[in-house]
């Protein structure tokens, strides 16, 4: 066995082991080195239910129009999805006369008390920076601008969430392990923030979110670059606040009028049915590959199993919410993942028929099949990137969610079909045990007599 092949085989085995660990139904998760991941599978509203919150405008003086409520709805959808678009919420604007409300249904959130996290996610999200002179304010107290007009001209904050650069907002921990939210100003605000902090050294800079104090700290020196907000948050709260800040404040203030946990919309029978259907479909694919391509088909089936395991593991890690349709799509992607294998095997067969030696046929077949695998998958990846960009830019999370899962499927299937199947064949060919034509579904004598076994350098 060549060195490269051995290394690849090792890599494949390790990957398979990792995937198996993550996919295991009662996996203990990973809780080391500051990484905390339970690897719980997120099921959609249709399969496991979630929470349903009814949001109503909380400030009667605010004018609510169709546009503002739509904008609020879209922002909430983006916050819930947090970028990848794979959280599968269902968010609807409702109307009764001229009274608007938003119904937000989120999968999950129904285990334990997650109301706090939900409230953070649904708050208006107006971040404001105030100079409170020599007065420190306690966290979570309500901020009243009218008391600090001397240090804040016109009772207006010095900076708001609009001055932040969305791409630089994140959560980290400081040296003592305390959670903090990183931020940086953008555009003109960078210089203004530096100037402001320069001129107000020694004052308390109080940061409020929806007029609730989250941090009040002395300005030690001029802040010319990124800054941090340290508060008392749980990890989930810090992440929610970061998400809220990234997408900006809602155009109107909303409050949760009612909150209910909701059950799945689909009965367990339909889940069962679809899983059985998926198993039948996949069984047919596996059988087809095995009967049509024989030994390579078997190897491709193994690669497919690895594809399914890896993809599911990645879904678990990045938190893709699986609805019934998502599962159907996943099963479908397994059917599609055989494509690269089929392309390669057809070429290998052609080369064998043309009288090449097995090892050479596999080599040449692979090389010939590569351009079409490359071009077809690249074009799909281009489509995914465009869709993801559009989905994210215009807040159409359903489109970005599709792009996320498809691009994962394409990349993983390319890996399993090309690297994994190839490695398997490379391991087997030099041993000489697979030189029988019937193993490739070819008539006897169609594999050239000079066996690869003799030529191999085991």
């Amino acid at each position: 066995m060549r060195r490269g092949t051995a290394l690849l085989l090792l890599l494949i085995v390790i990957l398979a082991a990792c995937a198996a660990y993550i996919d295991w139904p009662n996996t203990p998760g990973i809780h080391i080195l500051g990484i905390n991941h339970d690897f719980k599978v997120n099921l959609g509203l249709d399969l496991q239910g979630g929470v349903r919150a009814l949001l109503v405008p909380s400030n009667p003086n605010e004018q609510v129009t169709d546009e503002t409520i739509q904008a609020a709805r879209n922002l909430i959808e983006q916050r819930v999805n947090g970028g990848l678009g794979v959280s599968e919420p269902s968010i609807r604007v409702q109307q009764n006369g001229n009274q608007y409300s938003i119904s937000v249904e989120l999968p999950g959130f129904n285990t334990g008390n997650q109301t706090q996290a939900l409230q953070t996610l649904l708050q208006a999200g107006n971040l404001e920076f105030w100079d409170t002179g020599s007065t420190p304010l306690s966290e979570n107290s309500t901020f009243d601008p009218s008391q600090y007009t001397s240090t804040n001209p016109g009772g207006k904050p010095w900076f708001t969430g609009k001055d932040l650069d969305p791409s630089q907002i994140g959560v980290s921990t400081d040296s003592s392990g305390q959670l903090q939210i990183n931020f940086a100003m953008k555009g003109d605000a960078v210089a203004k923030f530096g100037q402001f902090t320069q001129q107000h050294i020694g004052d308390y800079l109080t940061v409020t979110l929806d007029r609730k104090v989250i941090q009040s700290a002395v300005i030690q020196s001029a802040i010319n670059g990124p800054g941090v907000i340290t508060g008392r948050f749980t990890l989930q709260e810090a992440q929610s606040i970061a998400t809220v800040l990234r997408y900006g404040a809602l155009p109107i203030a909303l409050k949760i009028a009612s909150l209910q946990t909701v059950g799945p919309t689909l009965g367990t029978d339909s889940i069962q049915k679809s899983l059985i259907a998926g198993a039948i479909g996949l069984g047919m694919v596996v059988l087809f590959m095995l009967l049509y391509y024989r030994l390579p088909g078997l190897l491709a089936d193994l690669a497919l199993a690895l594809y399914a395991g890896l993809t599911f593991a990645v879904f678990k890690v990045i938190g893709v919410t699986l609805t019934l349709a998502g599962i159907a799509g996943f099963i479908l992607s397994i059917g599609m993942a055989v494509d690269a294998n089929v392309l390669i095997f057809e070429r290998v067969k052609e080369e064998l028929r043309a009288g090449r030696l097995l090892a050479a046929a596999i080599d040449v077949g692979w090389k010939r099949a590569w351009p079409s695998i490359r071009d077809s998958n690249f074009s799909t990846i281009i489509t995914c990137l465009v869709l993801f960009f559009f989905g994210n830019t215009f807040g159409a999370t359903i489109i970005s969610g599709f792009a996320t899962t498809l691009i994962l499927g394409v990349l993983i299937s390319m890996f399993t079909a090309i690297v994994v199947t190839r490695t398997f064949l490379n391991v087997l060919v030099p041993t000489g045990v697979i030189n029988h034509p019937a193993l490739f579904g070819l008539p006897a004598g169609s594999i050239a007599a000079a066996t690869a076994g003799r030529r191999s350098s085991l």
């Binding site: 349903r52 269902s90 339909s270 479909g281 799509g329 089929v342 074009s379 359903i398």
Partner: protein, 506 residues
């Protein structure tokens, strides 16, 4: 060897045969869009006792509701015993309503009690159901207390005017949990609509709900209107207040369950009352109306437009990529254009047939339709490129054949791969469509159609278009040659072939 390319016009005609009716249907009928796009109405109810989702679905079955989604929930803030239902023996006028309100407000020393009056059908007869909620904090209401407080009620005028005799005769108590009456409640709902409602506060309020009222909970309006029209009924003198009013039954809630119903069908007051009646009669449970509203789609309004723009942008990039990737063959951009045409073909086939199925068999387009369409687009381009790749390779190897022959050979060579890949996908989809749950059938069905079309277009359209273009059969020069009195086609055989070889090989 199959001579596929020779039949190119037949294959294209077949595509047009599907696309043209589909596009016409799309123009004239549009798509039958479901609640995800179109929105509809939502109705939140709180039942008296726990129901299963199957029960609720069965209760809703007789109603003409399109695209119903039922979701059961639980709202812990609703105290399970905090709602009581009082069924009266008849429908009552505002005098009686005010008396009931006064009695209950005195009993619980609270003016903020939620008291609503609904005229629903109970065993075929229209009666008033009083729903009492929002008790003061810390108070657990008791059925006996309410029963005692409502023991003496004034007589009512005949609110229906036409059934005074039957109202009196049916004043005998009925068992609390009577057998369910198998009767579709719709006719009664119509009767309610035609009822003259001068002295009928509830009916007025409910009728108003058809044109939206400015409160979140419509029942609050019912109460408000009842107070507003509290003047003694000055109705016709032929309608004296002579029907005795009795409390037939009082029931107390036992659950915090909520039922959320979403449907495309607009829920007017009549339909809503009929649904509530069905819960009482067939489901043997009273329901409290928590919220009713019109809802907008769960797919953001501009998502469709964004999806179209994204696909156009992706198509342009794919065209450019193929142009680049095929730069070694002459006129590479034609490959890109043909791949994009095949893509448009698949989109039109899927959308067109969905439109036709929409008005023929009621096929509804939901949010997953976008996902399915995007999948089809990805698959279509993928498939086309595999065929084009083979043409590219053969163009470099087989230098003595005409373009037509090269394309034909490439098609035949890739046929096994095209069919095998499509077959594995179609197997999976067919299994999911046939044996999977009903809820994903539209999704997998759309995909099935799209993948089939994608395979067809990559084999029979994209490459054929390349040949047609390459031979200039679409252009004016071809028309001129054929009809404009140029050289007869037969004599120019060999020369045309040579000319073609020189042009295609650049």
């Amino acid at each position: 060897m199959f001579r596929l390319v020779e039949k190119r016009y037949l294959f294209l005609a077949l595509s047009l045969l599907v696309i043209v009716p589909g596009v016409l249907s799309l123009i004239f009928k549009g798509l039958n869009v479901g609640i995800d796009f179109a929105g509809g109405s939502s109705l939140s109810l709180r039942p008296e006792k726990q129901l299963t989702i199957t029960t609720v679905r069965n209760l809703l079955k007789p109603f003409p509701l399109k695209d119903v989604q039922v979701q059961l929930g639980s709202d812990q803030t609703l105290a399970s015993k905090g709602t009581l239902w009082v069924r009266l023996n008849t429908t009552v006028d505002s005098t009686v309503q005010n008396a009931i309100k006064k009695d209950l407000q005195t009993l619980y020393k609270s003016t903020s009690l939620g008291i609503t009056f609904d005229d629903l059908t109970y065993k075929g007869k229209k009666v008033t159901i009083v729903t009492v909620t929002n008790f003061p904090k810390g108070v657990t209401p008791k059925v006996e207390d309410i029963s005692k407080a409502l023991s003496k009620l004034p007589n009512t005028t005949d609110t229906t005017k036409s059934s005074s005799s039957s109202a009196v005769s049916s004043a005998t108590p009925t068992p609390t949990s009577g057998p369910s009456v198998a009767r579709t409640p719709t006719p009664t709902a119509n009767a309610q609509a035609t009822a003259t409602a001068a002295a009928q506060a509830t009916a007025t309020a409910q009728a108003k709900k058809a044109t939206p009222t400015p409160t979140a909970t419509a029942r609050a309006t019912a109460t408000a209107t009842a107070t507003a029209t509290a003047t003694p009924s000055s109705g016709s003198s032929s309608n004296p207040a002579n029907i005795p009013v009795k409390v037939m039954e009082i029931r107390q809630g036992t659950t915090t369950q909520t039922i959320n119903i979403l449907t495309v069908t607009p829920l007017d007051a009549n339909l809503q009352a009929a649904i509530e009646s069905a819960f009482i009669n067939q489901g043997n449970t009273y329901v409290q109306l928590l919220q009713t509203a019109t809802v907008q789609g769960s797919v953001a309004a501009d998502t469709q437009r964004n999806a179209v723009l994204a696909v156009i942008a992706a198509s342009i990039l794919i065209l450019l990529y193929i142009w680049f990737s095929f730069r070694k063959v002459p006129r590479p951009w034609r490959y890109g254009v043909c791949a994009v045409i095949a893509l448009v073909h698949d989109v039109l086939v899927v959308v067109g047939i969905s439109s036709i199925l929409g008005w023929t068999v009621g096929f509804q387009v939901d949010a997953l339709f976008i996902t399915a369409l995007l999948t089809v687009i990805g698959f279509s381009v993928h498939d086309t490129i595999v065929v084009f790749d083979r043409i590219r390779e053969n163009m470099q190897r087989r230098t003595v054949e005409t373009f037509e022959e090269v394309v034909n050979a490439s098609l035949v060579q890739t046929m096994a791969r095209s069919l095998n890949t499509s077959l594995t996908v179609l197997f999976t989809l067919a299994a999911l469509t046939l044996f999977g749950g009903v809820s994903i059938r539209p999704f997998t069905g759309t995909l099935l159609l799209g993948i089939f079309s994608g395979t067809y277009s990559s084999i029979f359209n994209a490459s054929m278009l390349l040949v047609i273009w390459e031979k200039g059969e679409l252009g004016l020069s071809w028309l001129k040659e054929r009809f404009g009195g140029g050289q007869p086609a037969a004599t120019s055989g060999r020369r045309a072939r040579e000319r073609e070889l020189t042009t295609t090989r650049g």
